[in-house]
Amino acid sequence: MTAPHDRPTAAELLEALHEWMERDLLPGVDGRLQFHTRVAINMIDIVRRELELGPDQEARHEAVLASFGMKDDEELATAIRSGTFDSDLSAVLMRLLPVVEDKLRVANPRYLR
């Protein structure tokens, strides 16, 4: 399923790294190093979630941009900046919500409410 590579898969490698950092590394460090270790574990989890959810999210991002008639974020940002959507900014923001929720599902799912 991950051809041409052997197991562990990329996700499984990151999972193993996360487990080792949490079990063996974290208990032995404190202060700034402990904080930075937690940041590192968190970054591993972000990449794990992106590997899992990323492909579907890419399609949704493109669909939302297409619904605005835009090819990328740059084009949409420029259109908004020039005032094209001034009359209905909250509707624009509502349509962007699924894209932002997808980013949070990867970066920090606990932030969603």
Binding site: V39, S90, L96, V106, A107
Partner: protein, 301 residues
């Protein structure tokens, strides 16, 4: 200054442009902040702001030496008397030790903000006005990363900009993390380096930005309601803050923190300071986009 013996000199964490040291002299604790060598300027206005705040009754660390023009330490510095207490937001919000402090803190922050906003800006030479919206709009454009949600929020802010009622001394970074808290509540307001002349509601809005609630359930510093904050503010000034104006500043504050997150990641990506911590902050940008959608739509109201 007469000769004194210095002991327990230790380096504390500091920002990108300054060093912070703590030391003991004649059995008293002091904090020294020095401009990192190679950095231009620094401490030109801050010592004056600090002493003006002190004279106005705002709780601040007492200025002991204004080293803006002094040369003993090669670069500008200032020394203040150490204030005992806690600055770490999560501890202030959760530790049992601060149970009583949490009850008092929102009102104390409202009162202190009102007091500092009443300081005569003419008494602080060198203090300059800062157009926050214009500044961060420019920063976002210079970073060159497209963020449609921030662009939409900036358009909304532009269209709905309130008329500034007064030009006051504004702290500029008035939030949990930049205040010293003891068991009784507010002990000192720290980090005056971003002080400028602006709309006083900037400080109240910034205090309520979701990032500065640190997971707390309430808007003001994570632990108080808007009403508590506004009532305390009005008890000093006699005028209750306009909730819509504070909200406008809270929205600008959310855009501003989002843009700062992008620039922190850029600091790493451009190689100015390689750091996985800075890199990770880049993935916090979307938290601010999410908050802005909530603030600017009827989604949850």
């Amino acid at each position: 200054m007469s000769a004194v013996s210095i002991s327990n000199l230790q380096r504390l964490s500091g920002g990108a442009s300054r060093e912070t040291w703590r030391f003991t002299a004649d059995h008293e604790e002091f904090v020294l902040q020095r401009v990192r060598p190679g950095t231009i300027g620094g401490f030109q206005v801050e010592p004056r702001v600090l002493s003006a705040a002190h004279h106005a009754g705002v709780p601040v660390a007492e200025l002991v030496v204004d080293g803006a023009e002094r040369t003993e330490l090669q670069s500008p510095f200032m020394i203040v008397r150490q204030v005992e207490g806690e600055t770490i937001a999560r501890k202030i919000l959760r530790d049992e030790r601060f149970d009583r402090a949490r009850i008092a803190l929102t009102s104390q922050l409202g009162v202190a903000a009102a007091q500092l906003h009443q300081i005569d800006t003419a008494s602080i030479p060198g203090l300059v006005a800062d157009d926050q919206m214009n500044r961060y709009q420019t920063v976002l454009r210079d970073l060159g990363e497209p963020h449609p949600v921030f662009e939409a929020a900036l358009r909304w802010l532009h269209i709905n900009q309130p008329e500034s009622t007064s030009a006051c001394l504004v702290h500029g970074d008035y939030r949990l993390g930049n205040i010293m808290v003891n068991e009784q509540g507010l002990a000192a307001i720290l980090d005056w380096e971003l002080a400028h002349i602006g709309d006083p509601m900037e400080d109240l809005g910034w205090l309520c930005v979701r990032a500065w609630r640190f997971g707390g359930a309430f808007p003001a510093a994570g632990l108080g309601t808007y009403d508590e904050l506004f009532d305390a503010y009005a008890s000093v000034t006699g005028v209750r803050p306009d909730p819509d104006v504070v909200r406008w500043w809270e929205i600008l504050g959310t855009v501003k923190w989002g843009i700062i997150c992008i620039s922190q990641a850029a600091t790493h990506l451009m190689g100015i300071a390689r750091s996985h911590e800075l890199a990770a902050i880049g993935r916090r940008v979307c938290e601010n986009e999410y908050d802005l959608i909530e603030l600017l739509t009827e989604r949850t109201r």
